[in-house]
Symmetry: C2
Subunit: 242 residues, 2 copies
């Protein structure tokens, strides 16, 4: 058995406590410790972007807590928000194809943590633990459906629908229900959202005002209220997105 320092043992306990609830570990009581030994925890801070790749080894990441934005580097000076993560999403080399994307990730809330495995380790773990492979399957299946619907909305719908798609995805995994509304704590800037849906801040302001006047949505720096009418219309889109 490895001799560990006190610091290493404390780190291990912290990692386990923070990632334990992630759906990747559902029904893995006994094996959790063994799998967890391969996981590395990273705390994200607002002013300290963490690159997705280093050491020339691809990594598969999961959001453990908080919220984060994923930034893509298309070319020098051409960074853009490629996704917004709020609910345990996988990212990085989550397709396990050995991809090493040149992006980085930034925390949006005070207590935002991600954890990762090196792809090679993770593949071995999937081979070893059937339940882990089922859990991972479920996670990427959900991600797949999200991508499928997003592509449909991005290619067949207008900017307003892209904005609603963003709010719906967000409300689906967090927020407090009050009567016929869902209230979200707002930790995104206008710039984050505009970048994600591909519109300018000015145009985003106009759309938010329209939605407010129609009684569908109220947006402020701290809070967002979304009405049920908007959340319900998602069912139709889900049917259309093949």
């Amino acid at each position: 058995m490895l001799v560990r320092t006190k610091r290493e043992l404390i780190d291990k306990m912290i990692t386990e406590a923070i990632i334990r609830q992630h759906s990747l570990f559902t029904n893995l009581d006994e094996q959790f410790g063994k799998i967890c030994a391969f996981a590395k925890l990273v705390r994200l801070q607002k002013k300290n972007p963490v690159p997705l790749t280093s050491e020339r080894k691809s990594r598969v990441y999961f959001l453990a807590s908080g919220a984060a934005r994923l930034v893509s580097v298309a070319a020098v000076g051409e960074d853009y928000v490629s996704d917004i993560l709020v609910d345990g999403e996988p990212f990085g080399d989550f397709s396990l194809t050995g991809s090493m994307p040149e992006g980085y990730i930034i925390g949006l809330r005070p207590s935002t943590h991600v954890f990762y495995f090196f792809t090679d380790d993770f593949k071995k773990l999937l081979n070893q633990y059937h339940q882990l492979s089922l859990n991972y399957n479920l996670i990427i299946c959900n991600r797949l459906r999200y991508f499928q619907i997003r592509h449909y909305v991005w290619t067949r719908k207008d900017a307003r629908e892209r904005l609603l798609f963003f709010f719906r995805a967000w409300a689906a995994c967090t927020g407090t229900r009050i009567n016929d509304k869902v209230v979200l704590e707002n930790y995104f800037s206008i710039g984050d959202i505009g970048d994600f849906i591909g519109v300018s801040r000015q145009f985003l302001h106009i759309m938010l005002n329209e939605l407010k006047q129609e009684g569908f949505l109220y947006y402020s720096r701290k809070q967002i209220w979304i009405s049920d009418q908007i959340l319900q219309s998602e069912q139709e889109i889900r049917k259309e997105a093949v």
Copy 2:
């Protein structure tokens, strides 16, 4: 044991022969027969679109042979080609979320077959056979990466790049290499491709002529030649798509 008619036994043998090589069944020699018993084979014909959903049960499909186009029904009279399938791709409720998309599928080559499982059956099989869950994982991981790159190209690149994305994906899984070119047998119409990348036939013609003049591509009703220069530039896009 079930008493089977001769017809049923022959059908079973045909199904097994056609789907055996699909990557879903890699390393599943002994269990293949048991899993295959739940699979249903469908032969696609050009003039007979097959709806993705019926009997109110969701289905997960795989392309077994040939090529097909997946058509989405956004609204009455608003059908469009949402994807083009050439290489064993999963479709339908492949996210296993119980979705019942209102689309249909059309064969593009004489011998095009798909097979499907009901989602509930398929989930049970994944639970039962670890190797099957690993194989399925690999299939949807590849699909996920394809969706990720497609979204990147669709949102950050122009129509010409979308067209090249289509040719690259196609050349990656089929075609014959001759010197510095890949030659593809063409079974798509200008309408299919234009629909998929979201441009008119007229504009697609202009782009194809440009690519021809630049020496990158030659397109005719029967054959397409694609130069290596175009295929190689995919590496960059893969790095950018986070």
